[in-house]
Symmetry: C2
Subunit: 179 residues, 2 copies
């Protein structure tokens, strides 16, 4: 087994989109900032998020059975900071526009993309719970999709590589063919 | 429920590091290209990967109980293409240098980072299996860590944002504090 420091140093090299996961706690809006979101399956369309069981919003997600994953854009670093602390989360909610789709979980009106989910599996394991959410509805604002990316211990944006035919072909093969 | 096309269109907006997941199939090297890798917990240091049950390497991962996650660098797009097809996977293995750490799963010698894992949980659910691997050893080559990122239907690299104190503070709070 490796040390926690070495683990963190390694995992910081895994690039990940930064998301705000929202839910309702007996009607009150709450949520967390997460980088542990990944697509799960196309049948049914679903995604997965890992939440620390000691996180303040864990039980609300678990009890409500719903959550919305909102992918943040490159301009959302300050918003994510506000959202990440319980003390300023209400301020974060108040600072932006929100919608509702199918489940009633708060949907950030201008996220890069939002996925409104109903939980179809909860799997507690050690410190975390794995939530799989069936995507009931999706909001894809028609705008620049440059996301906020966490990598190497800081925030990054993405820059497109030179398009090359082999790479484009490859996207078809590895991107979501595995779903 | 949303359409599969709409689902894929949405999930393409979630940036993800591109990884090669390797294992041994009765001693023979095999694996798959995956973007569905995320950190899981710091206690014990562990990560999670979702693998389609119809993937050729799924059963080898499941049976062997070991895998290695190798994070690809920005220059590895061609390698990922080779690795993604069973027909050229041996060629992909032959084209690079590999090592062994604790488990014996193939470790790419010059990945951005490699995590050698022993499976501590396998959770089949619908089309996929969720594998949680305890990280037995990690290889962090001392070099540029610019990764290959999949987003928006193509490969990207990351570009560092202007460092700002609030963002750096935020990294501490949301990066891996949730682990």
């Amino acid at each position: 087994m490796i040390s926690v420091d070495f683990f963190k140093q390694g995992m910081r090299r895994l690039a990940a989109g930064v998301c705000v996961v929202t839910t309702l706690d007996e009607g009150r809006r709450t949520g967390l900032v997460a980088t542990s979101v990944t697509s799960f399956s196309a049948d049914p369309p679903s995604l997965l998020v890992c939440v620390n069981r000691s996180s303040a919003s864990h039980d609300a997600v678990s009890r409500s059975g719903i959550f919305c994953v909102n992918i943040l854009s490159h301009s959302d670093a300050d918003f994510a900071l506000l959202f990440s602390s319980a003390a300023t989360r209400e301020e974060a909610f108040a600072s932006r526009s929100w919608r509702e789709l199918e489940t009633g979980a708060p949907v950030l009106a201008d996220a890069v993309a939002s996925f409104d989910c109903r939980i179809i599996k909860q799997e507690p394991f050690r410190s975390h719970t794995i939530f799989v959410g069936e995507i009931m509805d999706t909001l894809l604002p028609n705008r620049d999709i440059e996301p906020l990316v966490y990598m190497g211990g800081s925030y990054m944006t993405t820059s497109r590589r030179q398009p090359r035919q082999r790479e484009l072909a490859m996207v078809d093969r590895i991107g979501f063919s595995d779903l």
